[in-house]
């Protein structure tokens, strides 16, 4: 896209904001050339001030070398639903969500979609400022953006998140770079010309220049060949339906069948031949430690370091969750596990002989 076109985009937006074109154009022609452009008029500050109350800082697991114990998030409903990225930071019962005004809440995990790499947390709030889940427009290369996040954990308490500016550089499929980037999400992304995806920025908001939410800043991705870092966001339009479902509790993972009964002879990991890592945390991720030879797991080539996420489409991402879900499945029935292996998500079906 030529730079010229991006100017045209800006002007198009400008023009849209006019309600009475004639009056405004008269006003514009009178006062505009006479008014020097000063800092006050040219600042993004008002837009930013409107966005900041919708941003949150998230603190959870991590803190060991190279793994920050914090990330960013944004309010996506008036009832305190927070959209963020699904990551190790949430692997604890003690996830705290700090609002823009400094208030601190415990965040409850409502649901997650590992394929999209997103999670929804809920904090106990009503009538909070929040983003709309569906952007008025998708953005095009050359459109201006703002990126809000708590990169480097710069902000604490009631300090507002950091804001960077830039433009959309491209819209592309993240899978186009498959192999170079270690990511499970392979869908469309906005590539940005700003340094948006710093440590702690994941879960931050990408907005258009008016502060409308257009994307979710993704996790840090480094090109393994060139050692360069990717600055990108997942278009929120692609997430909107899933977010709706997660908030409404409509995803299969969240659906609770109150009539569901435990079979007399349920499955368990031992029967399947799966040895998980020791369950030492309150939310130990269900990593495969080893696989017993000639077991059902070995038959489908489950491997050490595979991370189990779902069992029959229900969330089973921790050792405890997996044990619980398996306890509802009869030994004679097959079970489909969704696993993460490296950058791939795979479905494998296990059946006891």
């Amino acid at each position: 896209m030529s730079p010229h076109l991006s100017v045209a985009h800006e002007l198009r937006g400008v023009v849209r904001s006019l309600t009475v074109a004639v009056v405004s154009s008269l006003l514009a022609s009178i006062c505009f050339p006479l008014q020097p452009l000063r800092g006050v008029e040219t600042s993004y500050s008002r837009t930013i001030a409107n966005v900041q109350p919708k941003m949150v800082k998230i603190y959870g697991a991590g803190g060991i070398r190279g793994l920050e114990a914090y990330q960013s998030g944004l309010l996506i409903s008036a009832n305190g639903h927070v959209l963020t990225v699904w990551s190790y930071v949430l692997d604890t019962e003690d996830v705290s969500v700090v609002l823009n005004d400094g208030r601190k809440f415990q965040g409850q995990l409502v649901g997650a979609d590992p394929r999209l790499g997103i999670a929804i947390l809920k904090v106990d709030l009503n009538e909070v400022p929040h983003f709309e889940r569906r952007p008025p427009d998708e953005l095009e290369p050359g459109d201006r953006i703002l990126a809000f996040s708590n990169l480097y954990g710069v902000a604490t308490g009631n300090e507002p998140t950091s804001v960077l500016h830039g433009t959309i550089a491209a819209r592309t499929q993240l899978s186009a770079r498959r192999g170079a980037f270690n990511t499970t999400y392979k869908g469309p992304v906005y590539i940005l010309d700003a340094m948006t995806n710093n440590p702690g920025a994941a879960g931050g908001a990408l907005t258009d220049r008016r502060g409308n939410l257009v994307g979710l800043l993704g996790k840090e991705l480094r090109n393994t060949e060139t050692e360069t870092w990717l600055n990108y966001a997942i278009p929120v339009a692609l997430l909107a339906d899933t977010i709706d479902d997660l908030i409404a509790g409509r995803t299969p993972a969240q659906t609770v069948d109150i009539n569901r009964k435990k079979p007399v002879q349920p499955l368990n990991t031992e029967l399947l031949g799966i040895v998980l890592v020791p369950d030492v945390l309150d939310k130990t991720p269900a990593f495969v430690d080893s696989v017993r030879k000639q077991s059902a797991a070995a038959a489908v080539n489950l491997r050490p370091d595979d991370l189990i996420l779902f069992a029959n489409e229900r969330m089973a991402a921790t050792c405890k969750q997996l044990a619980e879900e398996l306890s509802f499945i009869d030994r004679i029935d097959p079970v489909t596990l969704t696993i993460q292996r490296g950058q791939d998500l795979l479905d494998i079906t296990l059946q006891l002989p």
């Binding site: 198009r12 114990a69 500016h165």
Partner: protein, 611 residues
């Protein structure tokens, strides 16, 4: 779901722009500047005008930037000139390897000699002076409290020491955050209340200016967050605010190594989320003003305090000895007091840090047991000052420049302290030369709250009569124990030192240095301050009117644990060719001790025989 942005539908309307949308125009120019030669007519006049304005502002602003090259190839950085006679700001960590002499290139392609003037190692600021002109292009320090997140700004400097022709590099961005707190390593290079920007700040940009879109100086760039991304810009740079620099500037001009301030108390967040006193020194001014363990800090220097960071942000922008307001709360009752901040370091400590390896860009973690040390954020990376790129250069200090450099322990460049001390004193002497008046000084008159007084000041003693009785100070004994008359904090001792300054001058008073310009507790305004040590009285401040040179007041502490005796000198009257104050207002702590009216003054010359 994509609404395609048509191009053709834009054309008929593109000239209709309302003022509110001007906000975006600056934004457009970044891309609008390219490839438009053949299509200029498509861009509205307002946009082109605004672009021209921006170009003009940057062209003017970058004339004030300097590229600093240290002697002997010890790296370099950037800076900005702030006065026509060549005073310029940069980072402490830029001049540290350079020493007291450096070369500075400017946009005009000229290379200027420059010398070190003052240092603020804690705040990472240095003042230098370029030589050879009295009409340097210079920047104006803005009010950085007006800066908001989202404002456009630009950095000027010499990233990677690119500019071999000294023409600086300009990088453009927005303010990403304001009032940021970035913890120090140990107690040096702490960035408080700083400005965060996404304008590219790279090694070599250190010390260079951050300008507002209007071209006003809002900060001095000095560090960035990097961590695993390598030591190049990742969109997170920090600038020391212009308001912090304004507080220190009057001190930096004194040629001293300037210290930062502490309240003498540490604070912590209570379980209810309030900021409360966690520890307090009984020798602190705040303690004497009533602050105690557990009290809630409500506001500090006029700013509301809701977090520990907010408290540190306020504290970090003031130099040692500054007077600020404090509101604290105890059991739902608010107390408003003025406190004088004490130094973070002892003189020796600061000196050791400046000379020692700790002054290099820090790499170690903050020490949690340090008073006021920040609680490390969970795994938060510690932003670091930018390393100085290396440049090969060898030069000797020219003789005429060497005259302007005077090393002395405790000073960045004693030359400037002496210059200013002499300037202040010769200005004061225009109002009367007391050097021959070494005889008895006799003052008598009335107190505003009734009664008469008489004070006789001599070389050996001060004798006085007040309505409450006689008072005496023996100058041959330790002065710090002599607080007569009672409740004054040592008025007679103060007057003894007053006479001593006027007769002996700063050169023979004892030890005396020029503090800089500073506010006082006893009266409003900013004063030129000389600080003297005599006998065992560690610190007596003499406050001179910055315009007229008149001695307007003095503040003396007998010792560290008592409140000062503060005297305001007013109603100067000509007396035999000497201007003598005829009204003295004396404060001790928060209490007014007395206002005295002098009806009769005898300022005698020395006599051979003792009276």
């Amino acid at each position: 779901m994509t609404h395609h942005h048509g191009w053709a539908d834009l054309r008929p309307m593109h000239l209709r722009i309302d003022r509110a949308s001007a906000a975006m125009l600056w934004a457009c120019f970044v891309t609008a500047g390219f490839g438009l030669a053949g299509e200029a007519a498509e861009v509205p006049a307002a946009v082109r005008n605004a672009e021209q304005t921006r170009i003009r502002i940057i062209a003017k602003a970058k004339q004030t930037a300097i590229c600093i090259f240290a002697r002997g190839g010890h790296g370099g950085g950037s800076g900005v000139v702030i006065s026509p006679d060549g005073y310029a700001l940069t980072n402490y960590h830029v001049v540290k390897p350079a020493g007291n002499y450096m070369k500075c290139g400017m946009d005009d392609g000229q290379l200027y000699d420059a010398i070190l003037v003052g240092l603020d190692p804690t705040g990472d600021v240095a003042l230098i002076k370029l030589l050879g002109r009295d009409d340097f292009p210079h920047a104006t320090l803005a009010d950085s409290n007006q800066v908001r997140s989202g404002d456009w700004c630009f950095a000027v400097g010499n990233p990677f020491l690119l500019a071999t022709d000294f023409q600086p590099t300009v990088t453009y961005g927005i303010v990403s955050g304001v009032h940021r707190y970035q913890p120090p390593a140990g107690t040096l290079l702490e960035y408080t209340d700083c400005i965060q920007t996404d304008a590219a700040i790279n090694p070599g940009n250190s010390g260079g200016p951050l300008f507002s879109a209007a071209g006003e100086l809002i900060g001095v760039n000095g560090r960035g967050s990097f961590e695993k991304r390598g030591r190049v810009n990742v969109g997170v740079g920090y600038a020391i605010s212009s308001n912090q620099i304004k507080h220190f500037l009057g001190y930096l001009r004194s040629g001293r190594i300037v210290d930062h301030a502490t309240l003498g108390a540490t604070v912590a967040t209570s379980e209810e989320g309030r900021v409360v006193v966690a520890n307090i020194l009984e020798s602190s001014d705040a303690y004497r003003r009533g602050l105690r363990y557990g009290d809630e800090i409500v506001s500090f220097a006029g700013r509301e305090i809701e977090t520990v960071n907010a408290f540190k942000n306020v504290l970090g922008i003031y130099p040692r000895g500054w007077n600020v307001s404090l509101k604290y709360r105890r059991e739902d009752q608010d107390f408003d007091v003025m406190v004088r901040l004490s130094g973070v370091h002892s003189k020796r400590e600061l000196l050791r840090k400046v000379q020692g390896p700790a002054a290099r860009p820090p790499r170690k973690e903050p020490q949690p047991d340090q008073p006021d040390a920040p609680k490390p954020k969970p795994d938060a990376p510690k932003p670091q000052p930018l390393p100085a790129p290396q440049v090969p250069e060898k030069s000797k200090v020219p003789t005429e420049v060497a005259k302007l450099v005077r090393p002395r322990e405790g000073y960045a460049n004693y030359y400037f302290n002496l210059q200013n001390r002499n300037r202040v004193w010769s200005s004061a002497k225009k109002h009367g030369d007391f050097s021959s008046r070494t005889g008895q000084w006799l003052l008598s008159g009335v107190l505003s709250n009734g009664g008469e007084f008489q004070i006789a000041i001599e070389d050996q003693r001060v004798l006085a009569q007040f309505p409450q009785g006689p008072a005496v100070v023996e100058a041959t004994l330790d002065l710090d124990q002599q607080a007569d008359p009672e409740g004054s904090g040592g008025l007679l001792t103060a007057l003894y030192l007053w006479r001593r300054l006027l007769t002996a001058g700063p050169g023979k008073f004892g030890e005396m240095f020029y503090l800089g310009t500073a506010p006082a507790t006893s009266q409003p305004g900013i004063f030129e301050v000389l600080v003297g040590t005599y006998n065992v009285i560690q610190e007596t401040r003499f406050l001179f009117d910055a315009q007229t040179g008149h001695l307007r007041g003095m503040e003396m502490s007998l010792n560290n644990s008592t409140d000062r005796c503060e005297i305001v000198f007013a109603e100067y009257k000509d007396h035999d060719g000497l201007l003598i104050p005829h009204k003295l207002r004396i404060h001790h702590g928060t209490q007014l001790f007395a206002t005295i009216e002098v009806n009769r003054a005898e300022i005698k010359a020395a006599t051979k025989e003792k009276p």
